[in-house]
């Protein structure tokens, strides 16, 4: 019985998020545009996330390289290390790790921010002041996450590759030129484009879920906490689901 109720709640939630998304496309995209707030959010969501994303990306590149090396050495193809790492970073690790870090940082902050705004009636105050909270708060944030995550991913990939370069150089010596050449020789548009396009969707998911959770926060600090937490959890899961879809789609399109 409780399972049925849970399932119903799950469907209800899914429906609500779908509606919320539809509302973004019907209301959020139309003028008037809150450009100033959009830039502000881009700054907060994009620029301010860069140090965190950069750090994790760097470590990821370094560690991935160091972890992959032994098995490549066993197979006598150590020279392929840059290629392996490059492909792994650009195709999967970069986008997904960046998106997960992003979900952790931005998803929770959006969830908590909108949640507390909701709870302290700031959202109502906006409505009263003639501001469409959906446009001012949701549309700007969703747009910002959608636009900023790909940029963060690109920068993260670059930093990650630099980390990988250092990782290669810990045990052996490679010139930056050679590393660079090897990585790019193995890369194709079909590696880079789907990876970047999927981050648009990751960003959108993080934005929508964070805003939805915050916007529908229940009263009290606990409600805000729950919003922030479930925003991170749900958007992380969404990232993996979208990732799965993306790989299927690229496969179907013959881009793999």
């Amino acid at each position: 019985m409780s399972l049925v109720i849970r399932f119903k709640n799950f469907l209800d939630e899914t429906g609500n998020i779908a509606r919320f998304t539809a509302r973004f496309f019907s209301v959020g995209i139309k003028p008037r545009y809150e450009n100033k707030e959009l830039f502000n959010q881009c700054y907060i969501i994009g620029y301010r996330s860069l140090p965190l994303v950069g750090l994790t990306a760097f470590i990821m590149g370094l560690v991935l390289t160091m972890q992959l090396r032994p098995s490549l050495v066993d197979y006598g193809v150590e020279s392929q290390l840059p290629v392996m790492v490059g492909l792994a970073i650009v195709r999967e690790i970069g986008p997904v790790i960046t998106a997960l870090i992003f979900a952790g940082k931005i998803g929770s902050s959006i969830g908590a921010e909108l949640g507390s705004m909701k709870v302290t009636e700031q959202i109502d105050a906006m409505t009263v002041s003639g501001i469409k909270p959906f446009k001012y708060l949701v549309a700007t944030r969703v747009l910002a996450t959608t636009l900023m995550l790909p940029l963060l991913t690109i920068l993260g990939d670059a930093i990650s590759l630099f980390g990988a370069y250092l990782g290669v150089n810990i045990r052996s010596v490679t010139s930056f030129d050679l590393f660079f050449l090897q990585v790019f020789k193995s890369l194709d548009f079909s590696d880079v484009l789907p990876a970047i396009i999927k981050t648009l969707f990751f960003g959108f998911a993080v934005g929508i879920v964070g805003c939805y959770k915050g916007f529908n926060s229940t009263k009290g600090t606990q409600g805000v906490g729950i919003s922030a937490n479930s925003a991170v959890v749900l958007s992380s899961v969404m990232i993996f689901i979208i990732d799965l879809l993306a790989v299927q789609i690229t496969e179907l399109m013959g881009l793999n």
């Binding site: 830039f39 502000n40 700054y43 620029y47 197979y75 940029l151 690109i154 920068l155 194709d188 548009f189």
Partner: protein
Amino acid sequence: MRNPKANNIKLGAFVLSALVLMIFAFFIIGKNNNIFGNDFRLKVQFSNLNGLTKGNNVLFSGLQAGTVKEVELINDSTIEVTMQINSKVKSFIHKNALAAVGTEGLMGNKVVNISPVKGISKKVEEGDLLKVKNTANMDEIIAKLSKTNDNVAIISEVLKGTVLRIDSSAILKLINDQSIGINLKASLKNIYKTTSNANEMTIGLNHLVNDIKKGKGTAGLLLTDTSMASTLKDAIVQIKAAGVNANQMTNQMNTMVKDLNHELTNGKGPLNRLLKDSLTAKNISLTIENLQKGTDGFNQNMEALKHNFLFRGYFRKLDSKKKEEQSELLKSSQKK
């Protein structure tokens, strides 16, 4: 929010650097991928691709010249491969150039190697069909290996047949000539050696297979390619069979020699007289010579196999082992 202008500048720097990176990456990839250059297509028909697939590289005299765009099965023995070739290379490829499926390095991806051929010929045009060149590469070495093993099997089969015939031939029982007997003995010894050689080989290859399975050693590395490994496996199975045959043969030889010895020492029986005919003796001599030749050939094959660079290291080890064993064998025989 506190200082919108400074923030906007930072945001601008952030966005621009990401975009510049992206464009830069696209540019470089585009250059690699020839997407911005105008390429042309060449075709080649193979009977066996050895695992060549879409997207593999095409090398012209070892130079990266393009990629495999399409692989199409035309009939049961022809597969057409369409290659996209960088137009920069176009003016260097002539119509008589030969194409072959090769391997990048010793393992790794399959590639199409296009190699120029001496002689005057027109330059290629869009859609030209290149001829196929037979190459000696890893695949072929393995193919040869397996052929060698086929030969081993056949030889042992022949040997076995011969021995059987000798054994069953009533003529043999009539042998009287001591010298023939000695010759025969020597030959039989030779055969014995050969077969033991074959046996060792088999054991050695067995070890090798185990190593390969575990992915150890250079050979293991080279053979991680599944198609190669399976070819080698087949070869080894055949060698094993050959070994078994040789074993059987040896046993039969042994019994035969015993019989023969027995008869020779006893020197009795009505057949003795028949053997006095020198012609028969000569025939038998010849047979035995042939036998020897056959075993020599077999030995040579084995030798060739040993020198194959793939197994060199391995057999060096085996050699030292063999020496030890031989010395032990010598000791034990001396005791006897």
